[in-house]
Symmetry: C2
Subunit: 211 residues, 2 copies
């Protein structure tokens, strides 16, 4: 039972070396590469190297928002708890999830929608730079598209990586059909860990010295 005393950071570095080796001579955009690699690190699934789509300028816009102390809104508490608190603190950013809020539950009941849907309505009240990371609920993405179309919300970045079999593929394409800066995992795959990994990769690029 070797390497029981290996430290997490060493394991992470060794993992990224394996990922780089297995990606081979594939050409990745240098701004996108750390994000793609971190998602593979989180999932051990190399298909994300093909499915992750970045709209033009999305990474730079996200960095700008993070440097200005963005709010990062997630659609699950699971994703929220996967985002690095030290990195958030270093940049003066905050992370929120409205899914367990009583006012959101009440609004969803009243309107016959989902809490994910209602949480996007609540997000319209967030002031300042805003990143919305959806790893679970396609209805959150679909409602977000409606709200953007109505000019009620204008995020600096949408991370659209819900996982699943119903509405998921379509909801991601709806995001990509708009002009909002976006990072999307096309197809069925994604999840709360993927959403958190993308946020962490963006944060680490600004707070760590890593390639």
């Amino acid at each position: 039972m070797a390497q029981l005393h290996t430290q997490p950071y060493d394991i992470e570095r060794a993992s990224f070396e394996i990922i780089a080796r297995e990606l081979g001579d594939r050409e990745l955009d240098p701004l996108q590469a750390p994000i793609i690699k971190r998602v593979i690190h989180t999932t051990a699934d190399f298909s994300f190297a093909d499915s992750l789509v970045f709209t033009k300028g999305a990474v730079e816009r996200a960095w700008d928002a993070l440097r200005r102390g963005a709010t990062i809104l997630t659609d699950t508490n699971m994703a929220r708890s996967g985002i690095s608190r030290p990195a958030l603190a270093a940049l003066g950013c905050t992370c929120a999830c409205y899914m367990a809020d009583e006012d959101v539950a009440e609004r969803a009941r009243e309107q016959g929608t989902t809490r994910a849907f209602a949480s996007m309505d609540k997000a319209c009240g967030i002031a300042g730079p805003l990143i919305i990371a959806v790893g679970n609920a396609p209805t959150a993405l679909l409602r977000l598209c409606e709200l953007m179309d109505e000019g009620r919300i204008s995020p600096d970045l949408v991370i659209g990586v819900p996982v699943g079999f119903v509405n998921v593929v379509e909801a991601k394409e709806e995001v990509l059909a708009r002009s909002v800066p976006a990072i999307v995992a096309r197809g069925r795959k994604g999840g709360s860990t993927v959403a958190a990994a993308i946020v962490n990769a963006l944060l680490y690029q600004l707070t760590r010295d890593e390639s």
Copy 2:
């Protein structure tokens, strides 16, 4: 933008129908099928139908532990926050994660190990039925194997589904080489969402009327 008002439970049912259809006439053990399907539901990754391994009697032993109000210990707060609180409450079970505990951080520093390692040492103090769900840290599984070998801990179930590239494949095989009841995702894949999905599937089989 269809189905914006579809409720989560309907979406879940439709998703499970798609999963069953795509699994085709594959024969799944009836006790294992709801767990395998929920992991696929969580990941959109059908490879788990091949990689998930159940030791003989593992599901029944887990149910017995849950019916007796088990403690479920996870190796990430992310996995912990993904486990259904209503289902836990219905069975009188509790969920814990020691990774952010100050005594665990201190022990890890003193011993030059990881917090995941130290959190397994702390788990030896848990009384009563115990399920350990590891979705992230192979060192947690390796330390758990040592502690089981020394007779210091005897979980009713080990869920061994860390994800990654270093020590992960080996740590899972170490668990399977022991006599502990186990559900393991062989290979590199897994994660906190997979760990939570397996726990939830076990809980739902006892608290929901689902096939």
